[in-house]
């Protein structure tokens, strides 16, 4: 096993990886941008080296600098986390060339899965169901339209080299096709330097369900159940759960075995995720494969008892998997709520600033994977996800209750978060029944944004007491603490 591992990442996932490294007796090396000098992962790591720069492009994406730190610190391996360089074939190769183990799959698997057209081709060959689609070099608008008419609208146009919604267009009918096709191509070009696009049948009321797999360098691949990720906002996952309330044991087995086939088709090792779209008739189609640790991996850890980061390290070090498929049993239910620094009432705009007060939940069946601490500054430079709250209980109903209890304990003051939004989702009748698909948030946004303000009178009582005490303590002098909002009020009252 390694003695020292560098984590080429930041925030909660860097902290997450450091925790398992500590448990394995492996020294951890953090890297940080200028913005992140005060961050949690730097404080948690055994060693920390500056990358300089502010943006990701100036820091966490600079491969040379990271390799240099790895060499300087004698790190034998690099864990890339998710995002950043985690699915960068070039970086994986660069590690190899420098005698450093990249904790991920072989570079060839990254490149195969990174290009959607290639991935579809390989999956098709491996017998993995794919969404009816048309992908060919030099696809013309005419060919595309002909295909769309054949499979029926709506269809999706997607960038071959893309991801995350860029270069993606949903086309409802024939008349929209031409414009959408051209827009998708130009967006693909500007985003990925590659204007190739492909066309797919659009699935209605689709579920996003993904299978966690784990493979070693000796050809063994197992699956560790699924995650239901259909609570999404603009293709951004918000809440995930395992198992999915939508599928049963038979389907789980079928999807799991398909995912293993998909992984084996590209000679995969490492933890990985095969994402599927599942339509309302429970047909499932390969969507893409994420060749790295997933944000929502803790729900799988809860239900299977497997520490995925530990196994990433063991596999990377060449160990054989000591878990067999029959050892994997889902032992209850787990839910994850991603805590974002954002203001749901202002169209989910990021809400950077200082976390003035932070109380994280604890007690039975609760796990908080946080990337921040009280007093931390949430910057606009990086992802606004500050933490992942996960819970476990023996069934889904109890897990929802536990999550609501944990969310009640969770306090983040100073910046806005989506904690109240999560509570609305978890108490929505459709969510409670487990009857939701990827359209859930959009279709219920008004309900989900409502606030009850049951304790407004109490908030007033508290404010009055604060005002009363600070008046007598002579602290209202500045008028700042207790009445700063009256600035706006005063402004409105001027006679002009």
């Amino acid at each position: 096993m390694f003695d020292k591992v560098l984590i080429a990442n930041r925030g909660e996932i860097a902290v997450r990886v450091i925790r398992t490294l500590k448990e394995m007796g492996i020294k951890s090396v953090a890297v940080f941008s200028d913005i992140d000098r005060k961050s949690f992962h730097v404080n948690m790591a055994d060693e920390a080296y500056p990358l300089g720069g502010k943006t990701s492009a100036e820091s966490y994406l600079v491969m040379d600098k990271i390799i240099e730190v790895a060499k300087k610190s004698d790190a034998q391996a690099i864990h890339p986390g998710y995002g950043f360089l985690s699915e960068n074939e070039k970086f994986a190769k660069m590690c190899e060339d420098n005698g450093i183990v990249f904790i991920g799959p072989p570079p060839s698997a990254i490149s195969s899965m990174g290009d959607k057209v290639t991935a579809r081709r390989i999956m098709e060959k491996a017998g993995v169901p794919i969404i009816p689609g048309l992908e060919k070099e030099g696809l013309t608008e005419e060919e595309g339209l002909k295909f769309a008419k054949r499979v029926g609208f709506p269809v999706m146009i997607k960038a071959s080299a893309g991801g995350g919604g860029k270069g993606m267009r949903k086309v409802l009918n024939e008349s929209e096709f031409s414009k959408a096709f051209r827009q998708a191509k130009s967006e693909a070009l500007s985003s990925f330097g590659d204007d190739r696009v492909y066309i797919e049948k659009f699935l209605e009321e689709p579920h996003h369900i993904e299978i966690q797999i784990l493979g070693d360098k000796h050809g063994n691949v197992i699956y560790l159940g699924e995650r239901e990720c259909s609570v999404q906002r603009r293709h951004q996952k918000v809440i995930e759960e395992s198992p999915s309330p939508f599928i049963d044991d038979d389907m789980r087995k079928k999807m799991g075995e398909t995912a293993v086939r998909a992984a084996q088709a590209v000679g995969y090792f490492n933890a990985g995720t095969v994402e599927f779209l599942v339509d309302k008739h429970k047909n499932f189609y390969f969507l893409e494969m994420n060749t790295r640790l997933q944000v929502e991996h803790p729900v799988t850890e809860w239900v299977t008892g497997v520490d995925l980061v530990e196994y990433q390290l063991r596999v990377a070090a060449g160990e054989k998997l000591d878990i067999k498929q029959e050892d994997v049993v889902l032992r209850g239910h787990s839910i994850e709520c991603r805590i974002y620094a954002e203001d749901p009432e202002k169209n989910f705009m990021p809400s950077p600033g200082k976390i003035e007060r932070l109380i994280t939940p604890s007690g039975p069946g609760v796990r908080d994977d946080s990337g921040v601490f009280e007093g931390a500054e949430v910057s606009l430079y990086y992802d606004p996800m500050i933490s992942k709250l996960t819970v476990f209980h023996r069934n889904r109903k109890l897990a929802i209750s536990r999550m609501l209890r944990a969310l009640d304990e969770y306090v983040v003051a100073g910046i806005k978060t989506n904690i109240e939004f999560h509570k609305r989702v978890l108490t929505h009748p459709d969510f409670v029944k487990g009857k939701y698909d990827t359209t859930f948030i959009d279709n219920n946004i008004d309900y989900l944004l409502e606030r009850e303000n049951v304790n407004e009178d109490i908030a007033i009582v508290a404010s009055l007491i604060r005002y009363y005490n600070s008046s007598f303590a002579g602290k209202v002098k500045e008028g700042k603490k207790t009445s700063s909002k009256w600035k706006d009020y005063a402004k409105n009252c001027w006679i002009i």
Partner: protein, 160 residues
């Protein structure tokens, strides 16, 4: 003690008195007896009619059991001052109802301004207030200089 309160939807004067160890509070006719205990600079526990609440104060907000509220409290006298005199002698006059200090003049004579555009920053009641142009037009006259005091009801700027 009278205190003016404003929430997102409501605006009213409340009353708070201390009776022995508890506070007696009147909010729009509802009476509350509250036992408040500070836990730190920011936190406190509030017991009202047997119910227990964790309260956190930040500069601008109060959190009750983790849920965020914007509650504004101010001395009713100050509030009255802020809105007492409704002068409307000249539609184009930027007037202050309070004495204060001109912090910044944001326009010059001859400037074109839009209705609602801030034209003067006035410091009064320990607060900075932006005074907006009452109508669109051309700045005819600037009667004040920065860092000088002005009287209540003074016409600071005239717009034509």
């Amino acid at each position: 003690m009278e205190v003016s309160v404003r929430t997102g939807k409501r605006e009213f004067d409340a009353n708070i008195e201390k009776e022995k160890d508890r506070y007696k509070i009147d909010i729009e006719g509802k009476q509350f007896f509250a036992d408040y205990e500070p836990l730190s600079e920011t936190d406190g526990n509030l017991i009202v009619e047997g119910k227990s609440y964790h309260v956190i104060f930040t500069d601008n907000s109060v959190y009750v059991n983790g849920v965020h509220f914007d509650i504004e409290t101010i001395d009713p006298l100050k509030k009255e001052l802020l809105k007492s005199t409704k002068l409307e002698k000249d539609e184009g006059a930027v007037v202050t109802s309070m004495p204060g200090n001109v912090k910044k003049v944001l326009v010059r004579e001859g400037d074109r301004v839009e209705a609602g555009q801030p034209v003067v920053v006035l410091e009064a009641m320990k607060m900075e207030n932006e005074l907006d142009a009452p109508k669109s037009g051309i700045v005819k006259k600037v009667n004040v200089k920065e860092n000088t005091p002005v009287e209540a009801n003074a016409v600071l700027i005239e717009i034509e």
